[in-house]
């Protein structure tokens, strides 16, 4: 008798524990916020895990930003709770400047999340890589492109260097490249016709394809501006 009471008390306690979770937990966030960093609708390529922007949700006791990372192709996505956020691209992030928002008259973009939404963020890059073309063969990767200066007023910046990166995987930038060729900005004669070429080193394990991408370092801007990634079979 005694034992039965004890056991049933245990079960009651267990049931309370299990069902209790229902009462004090929030539902997981479900609204998806996705989009791209664009200039006139054209996405801007960046390095992976390197460019972030911040989402702030005012009204809480302590403030802390939600960092949203931008992918290599300029896209981003984040799963959020519904609410009213303020989106800020910090000034030192990315090879671009953020535009003044017409609503807030500052770099802050108001973001109302009511269910999932897609929003492309328009920014002003220092340069754009136009007509990036890659070619492969005979153990070499060649690339051509044109660099268009977008910010041409006094706040515009010079090109520090242009590089062609070749990588074994689809993550391509300084960190992962197995070979690269760099032209210093001062040696760049015609930015509208940039030509680069690298020799692919021996790869282990061997593979008959590589991924290539052009990167532009703007003087005084930490983050690189990068072209789309192209898989090259040779």
């Amino acid at each position: 008798m005694m034992k039965q009471t004890y056991l049933s008390a245990c079960f009651l306690g267990l049931a309370a524990l299990v069902s209790g979770c229902k009462f004090d937990n929030y539902a997981a966030p479900s609204s998806e916020f996705r989009g791209r960093i664009v200039y006139k609708g054209e996405p801007i390529g960046v390095e992976y895990n390197n460019v972030n922007f911040e989402l702030w949700e005012p009204g809480w006791g302590k403030s802390g930003a939600i960092n949203v990372a931008v992918n290599q192709d300029g896209s981003f996505s984040s799963v959020l709770f519904d609410g009213t956020y303020k989106l800020v691209i910090p000034p030192y992030q990315g090879p671009f400047k953020s535009l003044k928002n017409t609503e807030t008259q500052s770099d802050t973009i108001p973001l109302a999340m009511r269910g999932s939404r897609t929003l492309d963020l328009e920014v002003l890059p220092y340069y754009m890589i136009r007509n990036a073309k890659f070619s492969g063969g005979e153990g070499k990767v060649g690339a051509t492109c044109a660099l268009e200066k977008i910010i041409t007023d006094a706040s515009g910046k010079a090109i520090e260097r242009v590089s062609l990166y070749v990588s074994k995987t689809a993550f391509v930038d300084t960190r992962t490249s197995v070979a690269s060729q760099t032209i210093e900005g001062k040696d760049l004669k015609d930015p509208s016709a940039v030509q680069l070429q690298v020799t692919i080193p021996a790869l282990t394990p061997s593979q008959n394809y590589v991924f290539a991408r052009i990167g532009v370092k703007v003087a005084g801007v930490e983050d690189l501006l990068l072209s789309p990634i192209e898989k090259i079979t040779y």
Binding site: N49, G64, Y92, T174, R175, T176, S177, V178, G220, E222
Partner: protein
Amino acid sequence: MKKIFLLGSFLLVLAGCNDEKFLDKEPTNILNDAQVWQSPTLVLTVLADLYDRYPDLQSVEKWAEYANFDEAFASAASEYWRSRNSEYPYDWWNYWDYGLLRELNLFIQKCEASKLTEKSLFLAEARYLRASVYFELVKRMGGVPLILEPMEYNFSGDPTYLQHARAKESEIYDFVIAEMEAIKADLPAAASTKSRATKGLALATEARAALYAASIAKYGVNTPEVSLPGGEIGIPAALAAGYYQKALKAAEELIAGGQYALYLKKPTDLQDNFASLFTDKSNNPEVIFVKDFKLKSGKIQGWTLNNQPRSSAEEQQGGRINPSLNLVQSFEKLDNTFEPFATKDAGGNYLYFNNPLDLFANRDARLGGTVILPGSQFKAKTLDIWAGYMLADGSIITGDNFGARKVLPGKTTDDQVVGFDGPIDGLEYSAQTGFYVRKFMDPAVGSGQIGTQSDVWWVRYRYAEVLLNAAEAAFELGDKAKAAGYLNPVRRRAGFQTDLVAADITFDRLVHERKVELAFEGHLLWDMKRWRLAHVVWNGASTPLTTQPGKATETSTRMFGLWPYKVYAPGAATNGRWVFRQIIPANVTNPHRFRLGNYYSLISEEIRNNNPKIVKNPNQ
């Protein structure tokens, strides 16, 4: 009956409260302020605790921190992540010890109020420690709130009056410099004091702080993004010359004081001399300030235990720090030139050596004093670093455990085919770069045992650094002859016969000299930061090992190694000789990338939320 009992107990409780003697007892496990501040001995125990909390990023007690950059590889499975990660997190190296600062401020306040005859010394020591903590804070975080009084909360519910904004970076440096000037006269001048503040230490700290401020002012122009509009980060370039002058003046005052000299007790063996400089605790003329240890007292350190060569280890461990080839090849040849190690001739054929040490001959004596090389000795035992046998056709026979044995071609019995120190790729405690560390290694028997360990002190300031500081300040002020004059004694002690002349002194020379003289002494990160070279040298690019080790801006993001092999070619002239191969350890998978946001560590959101006046550091 029951009621009477309850009433009685209630009365007893009331009466008990009136008995003041019963409750008001002197605690037996704690000393109050009045008791402490009547005895210099007790005050010293309080001060000793404050000394013990002096901040170090890298030290003999934190061996793994040396593997973060390009000086060394960590040969321990739990630390491989240091060479696998690419980015340094923004909050790495952060430091915000206002608890310690409050205790120092309280100590200073109480000391000023006390009537002890020794109080001026105690006061100066506490002020030294407080300034040192601010120096550490400004190195890591930039300008921080400068709090010089213990703050008290008045329980009004409004803490805003306790919130202080960050001071300018230059103001913190100014504070450190001014404090050192103010306290130096109250500190003992004799060099025999090593583990407490002295006049020499105050001057050495002043010189170092002024030099840091000066170089941030001068080289900060290369990274205009690393600054804040309020000056919390960044020092105006116009202030550089003033700081360089202060650095030179403080260093020269210490040099002119004549209390310190370069360690030269073993002039016939300069490598051993350089190693002894760090382990010799009797009348060491060079050492200025240390954290001291004592055997059998509980205050011991495990540097030798952690890093002892595996072949002669006193425990089943050791060999954790493997100096990189990047560092090893930076040591100059004795004719004052730089050269990577030549392992092959112009035709791409291996060069053969009779002894593995031959490759490292005619180099800076500090090389052998800093690094245990293949073929050299530690604790009178020759190291057993060799990666295997190389056959005549270039193929390699090696094993995957310390001293593994295999049957060589043409033989019937097995032979040892790899050294008892490795190198074996991926095997922890083996010399995976081909080298072990020697600096701070304790030659005493038992220093490698867990139960004994080592009492070699951790040197925080020494005379050679003061000379290098003076040389750098003089160079930046345009006096190259004077810079050469301060550099040459340090170089002569390292075995260089030909002095440098004024025309030889360049910025790259000074960068290089500090790199090799002060390796494994916790200077590298701060130096690279103040010269704004960190993001240039650790730029995230996977480049091959540089062939210009004397150039300050060469990329060095991955740790390389150099493995010796024995040649097995019976009958041939090369049989039994040695060849070397440059390798990169398998666990060095990613290049280091120091981003602009790493120059000053992230101030956590918690701190910024508690005090909204704290501005965030840039680029994070």
